[in-house]
């Protein structure tokens, strides 16, 4: 085998790997969040990366939003199914460091949240939060900032409950973490 062939083969392999990684990313990225189905796991920023091991296994790295997020197992299963259906040998890796933050929700994700009726989180996540400082939360329906927090905890671990004083609608706020 000539040096030339080896180089050529190596090049072909690496091209294919990049393409596969891209394709696997797109497949995994399209998996919806089971609790907020209008959002994909890419929008939420919990799909961290796709790795292809030397023996060809596609490893999807996923970060949970909360330590006990009940959706994380459903998400991992859905990603595994989607990648397996596309013909990949698949492995899921749960990554907790660095810890997921709402800053990783994409701009598209923020827009989708708002369209779904959930106020998106503040962009800058709090490092040392002042004890009682509340963020200014705009109503996702009428954009008024005359809103009031009803409950620190809402229908899922990641949401708080608010109401709008302007349009009287109750709504969820995606907590800033």
């Amino acid at each position: 085998m000539s040096t030339h062939t080896i180089k050529k083969n190596a090049c072909v392999v690496s091209m294919a790997e990049t393409q596969h990684r891209q394709r696997a990313w797109e497949i995994a990225a399209a998996v919806p969040d089971p609790e907020i189905p209008s959002l994909t796991i890419e929008d939420l920023g919990i799909l961290r990366r796709i790795e292809i091991t030397s023996n060809g296994v596609v490893v999807a790295h996923i970060s949970p939003t909360y330590s006990a997020c009940p959706a994380v197992m459903a998400i991992e299963e859905a990603v595994e199914q989607a990648l397996t259906a596309a013909g990949y040998r698949t492995e899921i890796k749960r990554v907790i460091s660095p810890a997921w933050t709402t800053d990783w929700i994409t701009d598209m994700g923020r827009k989708k949240l708002k369209d779904y009726g959930i106020a998106p989180p503040d962009k800058a996540s709090p490092s040392a939060r002042a004890l009682f400082s509340d963020p200014v939360v705009a109503c996702p329906r009428c954009d008024s900032t005359r809103t009031e927090k009803v409950s620190e905890f809402g229908s899922t671990a990641c949401k708080a409950h608010y109401k709008c004083e302007a349009c009287n609608e109750p709504f969820d706020y995606f907590k800033c973490l």
């Binding site: 006990a68 660095p98 409950s151 905890f153």
Partner: protein, 263 residues
């Protein structure tokens, strides 16, 4: 029966302290979940199980990692559900029956303020898994502190009835604070190697936060010296109060009736 006797080996110290922390979170999470359907208002019916869920998530991560360090094929379920009462090493405060809402909130505040600072320090653990779970749990604890502090202030600075109940809760819980900061050869070994901080080093920060909140709640804590030298002890050695047996009977029911049952 495996006793909770103090070890010398470093990996034993790591295992023991991770299980202590996991037990604190599991048992307190279980107590909080008992409020589900009984809270004074719907929002609290959501809040307490939500906090309980965070605590259980943290407990799972701690048990799993402890099981790996122990290396005896015990997973999170084996540790959480299939040990004897004397093998649980949680703080006695965590197993206390819930009492009224003031008692539950004040206990949660004491615990969450401690854990917030503990996890903040734990972020620089020499063990990357501990550092990672600390950075996650720290944010969650911070949110719990915020919620409980608002209630403690509202109750303390509220009606005569709510203030009286909070004062009673403080009296009942004060003897249990000592144990939060307790030091022994396990915590010293782990502190020395940078695995987990010594609980006693949290006192000043814990006290500062509690004082700020208590000022607003018009409450007063006894002096620090008293907290450290007096109080109940024994949880870390597996010596529990009577209520622990009843708690475990419920917590372990499924695994005792159908051993190794899986979802």
């Amino acid at each position: 029966m495996q006793s909770a006797a103090l070890p010398t080996a470093e990996s034993d110290a790591r295992f023991i302290q991770l299980v202590r922390l996991a037990d604190d979170h599991l048992i307190l999470g279980h107590r909080l979940s008992e409020w589900c359907g009984h809270a004074p208002m719907l929002e609290e019916d959501l809040a307490m199980p939500n906090i309980a869920l965070d605590l259980l998530g943290q407990a799972r991560a701690l048990y799993s990692h402890a099981g790996i360090i122990e290396n005896k094929d015990r997973d999170e379920d084996a540790l959480a559900y299939r040990r004897l009462e004397r093998e649980y090493t949680n703080l006695l405060m965590c197993e206390r029956p819930n009492g009224d809402f003031a008692h539950t909130m004040l206990r949660q505040l004491f615990f969450s303020v401690f854990m917030k600072h503990y996890w903040l320090s734990g972020e620089s653990s020499s063990d990357p898994v501990v550092a990672a779970l600390a950075s996650k749990a720290q944010k969650e604890s911070d949110y719990h502190v915020r919620h409980c502090a608002q209630w403690v202030i509202r109750l303390g600075d509220g009606t005569d009835e709510s203030a009286a109940r909070l004062a009673k809760a403080l009296q009942a819980l004060t003897p249990y604070l000592h144990e939060l900061f307790e030091s022994d050869s396990v915590t010293q070994t782990n502190g020395d190697v940078g695995f987990l901080p010594e609980p006693s080093t949290m006192q000043t920060r814990w006290r500062a936060d509690i004082d700020t909140i208590f000022d607003l709640a018009k409450l007063c804590l006894p002096s620090v010296e008293n907290l450290l030298t007096q109080g109940k002890s024994g949880g870390r050695q597996g010596l529990h109060s009577e209520s622990m047996g009843f708690l475990l009977a419920e917590l372990q029911f499924l695994q005792r009736t159908y051993p190794n049952m899986q979802w």
